[in-house]
Symmetry: none
Subunit: 410 residues, 2 copies
């Protein structure tokens, strides 16, 4: 078997849902006009997929790791590294990542307010003032997130992640000295203590804080890292699969995962991550990427947004637009292209968050065992020839069809 | 997502079966009148469930552990602790549990009969004479089981479970000195050797044995512990799930598991564990428990009894009575209650024991993706929208719906 064909995984973020009374007890996907998804169902094989395992409420990060062939129970080392990716920090394998708070301390470094008055504005400037700091041979990369939150990574040789938090987790306490449990972690601790000290020096007189003081607001005069996590050694996607790959996604977190795996992360003008996103621009980017890559991962965020907002009709509408995008892609794909359409998890409108329900899935391409499902929906897919699989199975199935998977045994 | 709703898992013990010729090639479940189970099928989502994994012949203990969310491959530390629970010993996490034989030894502690003439009567009095013994700072809890068998637990600080057996496993050999593989286990060995010595002192002149001697029967003049097992640290059910819970079951072993997980174990007068059990009394207890608990586990033992007895018509009848009980429960449940009806394993009449077959399962409650199955049976359920899941998936699915499961990832 040698390499052949190409593959596209097209993900409607949070695609799965529950039956909605206002939609005639149909799910938004079931209620949507979706001729192109139905075509794939009719010409392909359908099933349902648990992103992680039955009933498990998947995050977008763990679900995408699974669909890219990694066992999330093995590689998910906590929120630090993945949140840092999510806010756009260029996390690399071997970095140590942290979640941070901007906080307010007094002259004795006693924490007055762990959230610096829940600061909303100016943290980009504060973060920029800390970003790029060098301590010993370690570089600090620092970026603001929402409100008082930020992410930080330490990059340098010989760093460990077994360190205590610089955050006392309660107000009225002094900022604690960070300690490390082993030699590499003692280096990390030394760097962290110096970082915290310098963050106070840099931030206390920062113009953003001077302005806050004049408004009677608590200054964001220190940065407190916590939740150290080693960015796992995953190798590159190509190393694992022998496939060149592109990642066309709207969510920062998933872009971060793509960069982390050295996929070509393609930014699409007009892709907003919202319900107003330009799906045709995304579709064009997919068509183009399939010309030059073996594998393309595409995620459209809209269905998840509508699910979180409990907005079934908006979910129907964005699914219909994704279907139109799929129609455009189908007119212009290379020969021998496999397409998987699925979700990374369910975000039922009535649940307004990621639920543990499986998502529908269809696989289309040369050689698949076409079943008698002709309609793409949560409940029709459950009757398909694929049965019930897991997120991490998808890449094994695709690498098999693409001829790049080693036989296990003789 | 925040906590909402309640859940009931209703288990027909050994519910699954094979097609029976005398029932027109229907299984007992398929042959039974079951309007209420069918209602759940019509309004819910069906599937089949492997208690442990496909083909694995599950015990009631391992199956219930799985359905309560524990991976039996991880937490099942052997029969000692679970058999001790099954005979009604109050096993607690950290205890060391043993299976024991009453045996017959001569004056030199050479084993003449490992089963003390397969003694049938009086072992309750013998066990009571040993129960409560204190050796060093360790308390011995001892209880008879069937025939010459008994269970024992040692409770005290610093005990290990890496000890040899006090049972020579062959007749004609002396009772061996128990040894321990590490410091805590050497303490256990010391206590065990003293226990065995004292058991002989206490039992040799016991009235039960005097009577046996007068009848020419081998005396049960010593207790020989074997198969040491550490009672695993599982935490409480509430700790894991954030759900208050009640356990309304007939089998001692499952009651033991409920107590072990600090569930409220509710005894129901009239619940015999046999085919004559008062299902309506059980149903009333379930209704009451659902008022005051988030989660109720209910197991009716009858179908398993009928399966072991190869009595298909009795199995049909007890299933019909469970269905009536379900009808009563359905009339009086709190709003937003999820119900799962299933078995803990199959006990096919023709097999007369637990088989490796999956069991049918239906999930009913707000938001489930109602499928087109309208009939609850082994073969109809296999066509349902749930597909094929495992015992340990059930609790993940329920905690997802109840809003008490942390998202895995972001």
């Amino acid at each position: 078997m040698s390499k052949r064909g190409k593959a596209l995984i097209l993900i409607g973020d949070g695609l799965g849902d529950w039956p909605v009374a206002a939609l005639g007890d149909r799910t938004p996907l079931e209620a949507a006009q979706r001729p192109n998804m139905n075509r794939l169902a009719a010409e392909g094989v359908s099933g349902i997929m648990d992103p992680i395992a039955p009933g498990v409420r998947a995050g977008s990060d763990t679900a995408h790791l699974a669909m890219l062939g990694y066992d999330p129970f093995e590689v998910y080392t906590g929120r630090g590294p993945f949140e840092a990716m999510g806010i756009g920090l260029d996390v690399r394998q071997g970095d140590v990542a942290f979640r941070c708070n901007f906080a307010t301390v007094d002259d004795h470094l006693t924490v007055i307010d762990r959230r610096a008055g829940r600061i909303e504005h100016g943290t980009d400037q504060l973060a920029a003032a800390l970003n790029g700091m060098v301590i010993e041979d370690v570089t600090v990369l620092f970026k603001e997130s929402v409100a008082h939150r930020a992410g930080m990574i330490l990059r340098g040789p010989g760093l460990g992640d077994k360190v205590t938090d610089a955050d006392p987790h309660n107000e009225g306490l002094q900022v604690p000295e960070v300690t490390g449990a082993d030699e590499p972690s003692r280096k990390t601790a030394r760097v962290l203590n110096e970082f915290v000290r310098r963050s106070y020096q840099i931030l206390r007189d920062h113009p953003v804080n001077a302005k806050r003081a004049s408004e009677g607001l608590n200054p964001a005069n220190i940065a407190l890292p916590r939740g150290a996590g080693y960015a796992p050694h995953l190798g590159s996607f190509e190393e694992h699969t022998h496939l060149t790959s592109a990642c066309i996604v709207e969510v920062g977190l998933v872009k971060g995962i793509g960069r982390y795996l050295s996929m070509d992360v393609i930014d699409v003008p007009g892709a907003t991550g919202g319900l107003d996103t330009d799906v045709m621009a995304i579709g064009s980017a997919v068509i183009e990427a399939l010309q030059t890559h073996d594998f393309v991962l595409c995620n459209v965020k809209g269905p998840d947004v509508a699910g979180h907002d409990n907005n079934p009709s908006a979910k129907v509408e964005i699914i219909e637009r994704i279907d139109q995008m799929l129609g455009m892609i189908l007119q212009d794909i290379p020969p021998e292209t496999y397409i998987v359409v699925t979700g990374d998890h369910s975000t039922p409108c009535a649940y307004m968050d990621h639920s543990g329900d499986p998502v529908p899935l269809v696989l289309w391409g040369p050689g698949v065992r076409v079943d008698d499902v002709t309609d793409f929906g949560e409940r029709t897919a459950a009757k398909g020839g694929m049965g019930r699989i897991r997120g991490k199975d998808i890449l094994m199935i695709l690498t098999g069809f693409l001829g790049v998977q080693e036989k296990f045994g003789a």
